[in-house]
């Protein structure tokens, strides 16, 4: 059995009276792709936000290689090797594509500067299929290309754990296929990936394991085949009548 990289124990987030994430426990092992799935509003993105440090957990612990990271600032968590994309793509609109990617290379987990950072950014642009667009402005890109830039920026941080928040949402079938191949290649080079996703095809073909959430709690955990046949999961997605 391979080593546990990240584990959540009783992770909880309350917004006033609303409990968005309620005592979630799970472990992520090295080199695995873990899917975080569930209906809208079930707390998946909030969980991701707790891991990346965008939100501070109200209670519970989150450990990275045994070190507590719950409550650290996002930049500290990022520097420890956890990087993320955003549900709504976030770009640096005043900068060129290359500078957007260099942002990750210069300040992320492994830091580079000058020519080294530029080379790294160029290589990653190549990898996500944007070679030749380095000097474009962000405003000139299509939606899918902004997603590519964001992924390249996140990869430039050289993360050990990659958090993808619905990165495959809104892609057409052929783009989706490219996207899935890309994520697979990331796993193959030894990165650990947590993805929040709705696209079932992607979940089936990518995830080693899934955690299913509904109303802030974990209701199932296992391989995609296991959890997608779990009656409770079906009920959570489709309601009682169809179960």
């Amino acid at each position: 059995m391979s080593a546990t990289v990240l584990s959540l124990r009783g992770a909880t987030k309350r917004f006033g009276g609303l409990v968005a994430v309620n005592g979630i426990d799970f472990d992520v092992t090295e080199h695995e792709v873990m899917g975080l799935i569930g209906p809208n509003g079930s707390g998946k993105s909030t969980t991701l936000n707790l891991i990346s440090g965008a939100l501070k957990p109200t209670a519970g612990s989150i450990t990275l290689h045994g070190t507590e990271i719950a409550g650290l600032a996002p930049q500290e968590i990022n520097r420890k090797g956890v990087a993320r994309t955003f549900q709504l793509v976030r770009m640096l609109p005043s900068m060129s594509v290359l500078d957007n990617v260099m942002a990750g290379a210069v300040f992320g987990h492994r830091r580079a500067w000058g020519q080294a950072a530029r080379d790294k950014a160029m290589a990653l642009l190549d990898r996500v299929g944007l070679s030749g667009r380095a000097n474009n402005r962000i405003g000139e890109l299509t939606y899918i290309d902004t997603k590519r830039v964001e992924l390249a920026r996140v990869l430039a941080c050289d993360p050990r754990i990659l958090l993808l928040d619905e990165w495959l949402a809104g892609l057409n079938p052929s783009e989706l296929e490219t996207g899935i191949t890309l994520i697979k290649s990331l796993r193959d080079e030894g990165r650990t990936i947590i993805l929040v996703e709705h696209v079932m095809d992607a979940i089936r073909s990518l995830c080693d394991r899934c955690v299913v959430m509904t109303s802030g709690t974990k209701i199932a955990e296992g391989t995609p085949a296991e959890v997608l046949n779990d009656p409770e999961v079906i009920r959570a997605y489709l309601g009682d009548d169809d179960a």
Binding site: A54, Q75, A83, L92, D99, A103, F107, R153
Partner: protein, 312 residues
């Protein structure tokens, strides 16, 4: 350090301009000397203000607080310590105060920061007045043998330092971090940038420079009192000049300082009661007509010119 092909002419040109500026006292005209002093002072203040506010979009109205602390440092110490040392002490005080204020407020939203800095000058002024009342003073005489020419040359030197600092920051990781923060602070934080530290550092630079400027100008005032040293209008003038020029470029504020100084001199000598109105109109012009300052106009113009050449 590696300089790119464009850097060398730009540096040479800047050095030439500074050299020319330094020759102003040779004209011997007191009108030009007065204008020159104002321009040098506001260039230093607006440029250092824009180093912080340009990328971060935080509007600081604390210039008067730092400036006043600088003049008071000299006012209190000119009899016992050498002038150059007082400038350094003033700069250190300015940087320290900016650091404290920055740590307390820069994690909050922009509105709070504006109010905080606006109040800061007023707070320091009231406290100074109160302390002076307790000791039975109204103000100080600053009697030195430092004349306008020396003050002017020191300001030009300080301006050179500010431009050099700005240029170096622009090429550094810190400068890159600030540009990222200006675009999207959330992305910056999630890319591993300690945004609070970057912002506080730059705010300290602007506080340091403003305090040093206040110290350098102290001998010119001869008599300093709180309402003069901590005049809130100064903070507003600095903001207007920097925004009018365009805080997105290092040389942007300078483009605003020169015309506004002339305008200000003209208005305050012919219609001294209308200066507030001028400030107000300037703010409205910036928001509604020149959101990117003169720099924006110049760059759009260049863009259009280049586009036309491209089609020709």
């Amino acid at each position: 350090m590696n300089l790119s092909r464009d850097d060398i002419p730009a540096l040479a040109f800047s050095a030439l301009l500074l050299g020319l500026a330094a020759m102003l006292p040779l004209t011997g005209s007191s009108y030009w000397m007065g204008i020159g002093l104002s321009i040098a002072m506001f260039t230093v203040l607006s440029t250092s203000w824009a180093l912080f506010s340009g990328p971060t979009h935080y509007i600081s109205l604390a210039t008067a607080a730092f400036f006043g602390l600088g003049t008071y440092t000299v006012g209190l110490g000119f009899e016992s310590l050498p002038f150059w040392l007082l400038i350094i002490i003033a700069a250190a005080i300015g940087a320290a105060l900016a650091g404290i204020v920055g740590l307390a407020t820069l994690r909050l939203s922009g509105v709070y920061f504006v109010i905080f800095t606006l109040g800061l000058a007023e707070l320091v002024r009231q406290l100074t007045t109160w302390v002076q009342n307790l000791t039975g003073q109204r103000g100080f005489y600053v009697l030195t043998d430092i004349g306008e020419t020396e003050i002017y040359l020191m300001l030009v030197g300080l301006a050179a330092l500010v431009f050099l600092t700005g240029w170096l920051i622009g090429r550094s990781r810190l400068g890159f971090a600030l540009r990222i923060i200006g675009d999207d602070e959330e992305v910056a934080r999630h890319s591993g940038i300690n945004t609070a530290r970057a912002k506080v550092l730059l705010f300290m630079v602007s506080g340091l420079v403003a305090a040093a400027t206040g110290a350098i100008l102290a001998p010119r005032y001869v008599y300093i009192e709180p309402s003069l040293a901590f005049s809130p209008i100064l903070s507003f003038q600095v903001v207007i000049m920097a925004l009018l020029g365009g805080p997105g470029r290092l040389w942007g504020p300078l483009v605003g300082v020169i015309p506004f100084t002339f305008l200000w001199e003209a208005i305050s000598s012919s219609f001294p009661n209308q200066t507030t109105l001028v400030l107000g109109i300037a703010f409205l012009v910036i928001v509604y007509a020149l959101p990117r300052g003169f720099v924006g106009l110049i760059e759009d113009g260049r863009h259009r010119l280049r586009a036309r050449e491209g089609y020709a």
